[in-house]
Symmetry: C2
C-alpha cells in the first residue's frame, strides 16, 4: 500500500492541491484570506475544524450574489418580454390592465401595482406550458435579450469572482447549491452552463404544477399560482426540504438572505456567512439600505456581530464580469 | 498517459467492474437478466444506449418497494405510538375523538375515519417540533418498536434484493433517490443508514414548516398542514421540483407509482420501469388489486404494454430480508 501515494501523485490520479491561486479575480484582501482560511480549515483532516465532504454544503443566493440584479430582477425582464410575445400571438391574452401594461413593456405601471400585479404577470407568463418548453423559451430569450445599460447578455452578467469561488469550493469537495427567490425552472435553464450547478442543486420559488397526459405524452405542466416562495424565512425551509441538512457556507447579498445566514451560521462546527456588498458604482451598481431590488439593511446591521464576511465589491474584486 | 491504466488497476485506484455477482439475492431469472442488461447498456460507452453518469438517475418508491408496508404503513404505526406518548405527557393533548382513538392505539377507528382522520393524526403527531428533534424521535422509535407479525425492527424489514440493486446502481454511477408518499423528515431519519441514500436524495410528502428563532436559536419547525403530497401525479411533480430532470429508471409497487412510471419511461433513450409485485404470502405478503395499502391494480394492467418489469417476489428473490 505504500506505493499508492507516490504512484497516484506521479500519474496525477489524486487531486493534488495545485491551486497556485484559486481565486485570481479576488484582490489580496482580508475577504480573500478569510475564505481561503475557512476552506483550508474544513478540508484539513488534521484540523479540529475538519468537515467530512458529505457535509461540505455551500448555498448561494442568485440575484445580486451570483449575477447582477439591477435595475430590476432579470427574470422580470423575461416575464415582460414574454408577455409581449404572448400578446402578439393572441390579441385576447392581455385580458387585464396589468397584463396590457406588461405586454406594452410598461415596467413602471407593473411595479406600481405592487406584489399583486407582479404575481399576475408571473402567473400569466410562467404557466400553461411544460417545464421543458418553458426552459427552451428562457434559453432562447437569454440568447437574444440584452441588458439596457450594459448591452451584455444577461448570463454574461455573472460575477467572475463568484464563479471562481464556486469552482474552488467544488474542487475542495463542496456541493454548491443555489437558494434563490427566483423561479426554479427559470434558473435551471442556465445554471448548469453559467455556474456549473446541475438542476438538482438549484432551489428556488415554485409555481403550481400538474401531471398531465397530453396526446398520449406524460408531462409536467406549469400552472398559475405560487406553491412556494424561497425568500426570507422560506430559504431555511427550502433548504431543509430539498437538502435535508444545514449548509456550512452561505452566500447572499440582501435581507432576503438573512434568515438562511442566521440559521446556517448558528450551531456547532465551522460555519461561514458571506454577503456581497454592492459598493461599486463604477463597474456595477452601488446600493444597500434602500430600493426595490436587493435591499440590504437589517442583514448589514447584523453582519458584524454575526461574523458574516462583508465582501466589498469595489475593494475585494479585481474583476466583476468574466468579459470586461 | 499510457501508464495510467496499468498503474491504476495495479494499485486498485480505478473502479474495476469486479462484480462477480452484483445481485446475489436475485434468482437467475428474466428479471435479474433484464436489470443487468439495462445497466450494461447505459454504462457501455460504445453502446448506442449509453447514458452519461449525470443523467443516470434512478428513483424508488419506499413503502412496499424498499421496505415492507403490511399490515399498515410503518409511518402510521409511528404516528399512533407517538400519539400515545404525547397523550401520556399531556392529558389535554387528545382533544378530539380521533386523537383519543390514536392515543389508545385503536387503529381500526382511525382508519375508519378516512383521510380526514389520518390527516388529523399525522398533523398532531408530526408538528410543533423542530425537524432535528422529530428525527431523533423517529430514530428512538425505530430502536425499540417491533413489527406485530414478524417481531422484527421496522428498519430490518428492508428488502435485501433492493439493497443490492441500489448498491449495484450506485457502483454503476447512478444517483439513487427515494420518491415516496411517506413523510420526507420521517424517511430521512433512517434512509442513509438503511439504504445508503443521503437526505438530499430523499423526496417525500411534506408538512408545512416555518423558520423561527426560539431562545435565540434559529430553527425550522414542523407545522400542521400538508404542503405537498408526493403520491400519484405528485411524484412526477416532486421529481421535477427536486431533481429537475427525468429519471431513466423507476421502481415502484403500487398505483401510487403509476404516474412516475408512465412519465419516466416515456420519451427518448433507454428507460426502465420496475414494479415489485407482492406475490410471496410465505416470506412476506401476497397482495395487489385490493386493500387499503399498496393497491396495484391499474399499473398491473398497464405493465405489459408499457414494458415495465414485474418483479415476482416469490420467483425472483432468493432472499427477502437481510436477516432471515
Amino acid at each position: 500500500m505504500k506505493l499508492i501515494p507516490t504512484l497516484a501523485v506521479a500519474t496525477g490520479l489524486l487531486a493534488v492541491p495545485a491551486h497556485a491561486d484559486p481565486l485570481p479575480s479576488w484582490n489580496d484582501t482580508d475577504a480573500r484570506s478569510a475564505i481561503i482560511a475557512f476552506v483550508d480549515g474544513v478540508t484539513d483532516p488534521a484540523a479540529d475544524t475538519y468537515v467530512t465532504p458529505d457535509a461540505r454544503i455551500a448555498v448561494f443566493d442568485n440575484d445580486g450574489t451570483l449575477w447582477a440584479e439591477q435595475p430590476i430582477y432579470f427574470q422580470l425582464v423575461f416575464a415582460m418580454d414574454r408577455a409581449r410575445v404572448l400578446a402578439e400571438a393572441d390579441p385576447d391574452w392581455a385580458s387585464t390592465g396589468v397584463l396590457e401594461a406588461a405586454a406594452a413593456g410598461d415596467m413602471g405601471q407593473v411595479l406600481g401595482g405592487g406584489e399583486g400585479a407582479l404575481l399576475e404577470v408571473i402567473n400569466a407568463t410562467h404557466s400553461g406550458v411544460t417545464v421543458e418548453a418553458f426552459q427552451s423559451e428562457v434559453r432562447a430569450w437569454l440568447e437574444k435579450a440584452r441588458h439596457p445599460e450594459t448591452g451584455m447578455a444577461y448570463d454574461e452578467m455573472v460575477y467572475q469572482p463568484m464563479l471562481e469561488l464556486l469552482g474552488y469550493l467544488r474542487d475542495s469537495d463542496f456541493s454548491t447549491y443555489i437558494v434563490s427567490g427566483g423561479g426554479i425552472d427559470f434558473m435551471r435553464a442556465f445554471a448548469e452552463e453559467a455556474y456549473g450547478i446541475p438542476p438538482e442543486q438549484v432551489i428556488g420559488s415554485m409555481g403550481e404544477a400538474s401531471f398531465e397526459i397530453i396526446d398520449g405524452v406524460p408531462q409536467v405542466v406549469k400552472q398559475p399560482g405560487i406553491a412556494f416562495v424561497d425568500d426570507k424565512g422560506g430559504k431555511p425551509v427550502g433548504i431543509t426540504r430539498d437538502i435535508g441538512r444545514k449548509p456550512i457556507l452561505v452566500g447572499g447579498n440582501s435581507d432576503g438572505d438573512m434568515a438562511m445566514l442566521q440559521w446556517a451560521t448558528a450551531g456547532e462546527g465551522p460555519r461561514f456567512g458571506l454577503i456581497v456588498h454592492h459598493t461599486d458604482a463604477e463597474r456595477e451598481w452601488a446600493y444597500d439600505r434602500e430600493g426595490p431590488v436587493g435591499k440590504l439593511n437589517e442583514a448589514l446591521d447584523l453582519a458584524p456581530e454575526s461574523g458574516w464576511l462583508l465582501v466589498d465589491m469595489a475593494e475585494d474584486w479585481a474583476t466583476v464580469y468574466p468579459r470586461p
